[in-house]
């Protein structure tokens, strides 16, 4: 093996970070997508009391320093926090310093990104089509699942892929809430940061940075493709 190929080969520890990043990103999207669709639809299509408050609240993680978001999560979901202590007492389930915690922090951080895109796609659905469905006998839920949701799919898919790309890079909230535990909460950016803190870690940092770069680009391209394909499919 020459030096070049060794540089391009990931160590088992680095692989763990990559795999964990993908797992955390994927789970966080799956977990928050249904909620993001509901909230995006509510904000894009309905008028209700306190809408601007909900809107601002949803966007908080977008504008707050990520460290603050992580700290708030720690206060709420930490073992001594009001939610965290209940979960711990009743189910023995802990968010803080676990993979689930990294996933939660990532989900909270990418949530506004998804809601923004889904909200736009919900607002763009032609209400005339929903009226047509009404006259054909479709009730509210039926209309949502047979007309509104399918027509939102391009926006939802693009939102999910963009959020996935962003999720791979979540740093501040994750390290604050879940810390940097290899194999547990140490995702790619945390591993890169960690590597840079020790002497001789530059090579690891560079390799993982290249991986990050490739993953992010792939996700963005995929998001473009999905949006394009579904647009074509739906005319």
């Amino acid at each position: 093996m020459n030096d070049d190929s060794r540089f391009l080969t990931l160590t088992p520890e680095e692989w763990t970070a990559v795999a964990l990043s993908l797992e955390v990103a994927l789970k966080s999207i799956l977990f928050s997508l249904p909620i993001a669709i509901l909230v995006g639809w509510l904000l894009g299509r309905r008028r209700f009391f306190g809408k601007s408050v909900v809107d601002a609240f949803v966007h908080l993680p977008f504008v707050l320093p990520p460290v603050v978001t992580g700290y708030v999560l720690l206060l709420l979901f930490g073992v001594k926090g009001p939610v965290g202590s209940l979960l711990n007492d009743w189910f023995g389930f802990r968010f803080a310093f676990t993979t689930a915690g990294a996933t939660l922090a990532t989900a909270v951080m990418t949530f506004p990104l998804m809601v923004r895109a889904i909200r736009l796609s919900a607002g763009a659905v032609d209400r005339g089509l929903e009226d047509a469905a009404r006259t054909l006998g479709a009730g509210p839920l039926d209309r949502f699942f047979s007309i509104t949701l399918p027509l939102m799919i391009p926006g939802i898919a693009a939102a999910a892929m963009t959020a996935f790309a962003a999720a791979l890079g979540e740093f501040g909230a994750v390290i604050t809430f879940a810390a940097s535990i290899p194999g547990e909460t140490q995702t790619l950016p945390l591993a890169i940061y960690g590597a840079l803190q020790v002497p001789g870690g530059e090579e690891t940092a560079a390799r993982l940075s290249i991986v990050s770069f490739i993953l992010a680009l792939t996700a963005l391209f995929a998001s473009e493709r999905i949006a394009h394909r579904t647009h074509v499919l739906q005319g």
């Binding site: 032609d126 005339g128 089509l129 009226d131 047509a132 469905a133 009404r134 006259t135 054909l136 006998g137 479709a138 009730g139 039926d142 047979s146 007309i147 399918p150 027509l151 499919l233 739906q234 005319g235």
Partner: protein, 359 residues
Amino acid sequence: MIRIDIARQLGAFRLAAAFEVQARGATVVFGASGAGKSCLLAAIAGLVKPDSGQIEIAGETLFDSARAIDVAAEARRVGFVFQEARLFPHMSVRANLEYGSKRRKEHKAAVRFDDVVALLGIAGLMERRPRTLSGGEKQRVAIGRALLSNPRLLLLDEPLASLDDPRKAEILPFLERLRDEIGIPMLYVTHSMDEVARIADHLVLLDQGKVVAAGSPGELSGRLDLPLLIDRPDVGAILLGQVAAQDEARGVTRVAVGATEFLLSHIDLPPTHPVRLRVLARDVAIATQRPEGLSVQNVLSCRLTALVDRPNGRCLLQLDLGGASLLALLTADSARRLHLQAGQDVFALVKSVASSALV
């Protein structure tokens, strides 16, 4: 019966429409843009809630503000054909057609899928996506989709308005067959007199949110007191007649209207078959004595029953054909020159007649 009596305020505009029509055949609601026609249909369908009033179809109350009845649009069984077809873009033509029928399975279908597809000529489009259809094809599929949802009333909101003339000509025969072959009553909104002439069994005139007249197209189109009908370049009478005889030698068809007969270019229909005629007032000239040596085929003896002055030195005449009314538009100067007066017997020279067959 279909009974409508609703009021709705929309900013400065007020819709206050009340009328009653038979729950069969085609009722055309005619009015200019902004007369409240679309709002009226949306209220009947349940897409818009009136401020007050009642809506009743064949004995069932769909809306009654006094009794707090407001049946949801999805439960009204009122089909709606929109101006822009509004097909679901993510479904095939077949899935669009089946969307309504799948959701109203409990009701026995009044029409069969294959019959509707054949009637509308859309059998070859089944697996296509709406975006690949022409405007006329889209509208036919939209009509089929509404029909197949088992409606007890079909609402059509200017279904031809967004189409060009060739496409209109393509759809109109389907609408006529729909009226004549399928027993679902239609409420058809338009601002086109052509469509009124070809489709209307009953006519409701809507002007600035109010019903100004309702009745048969023949009766209303022969009146001189309805600005909505006579303030148009294509003012004219709609006549309901029937085939009296075929004159094979001359290649013409005799059509009986009231006490008189029209000669038309051959139409291939058996005797006694109903025929609609439309005679524009500007295509009718008047003679006080029977003229000789004319190329005009239809010279009808009739009585001048009324005349009114019109702008631009014109004069509009109402002529009684013995049970049917014809209109003639002359210059006021001609009317003076001929000393035309109500009650006088005259001859109407009809230069052109448009006809369409009724089943």
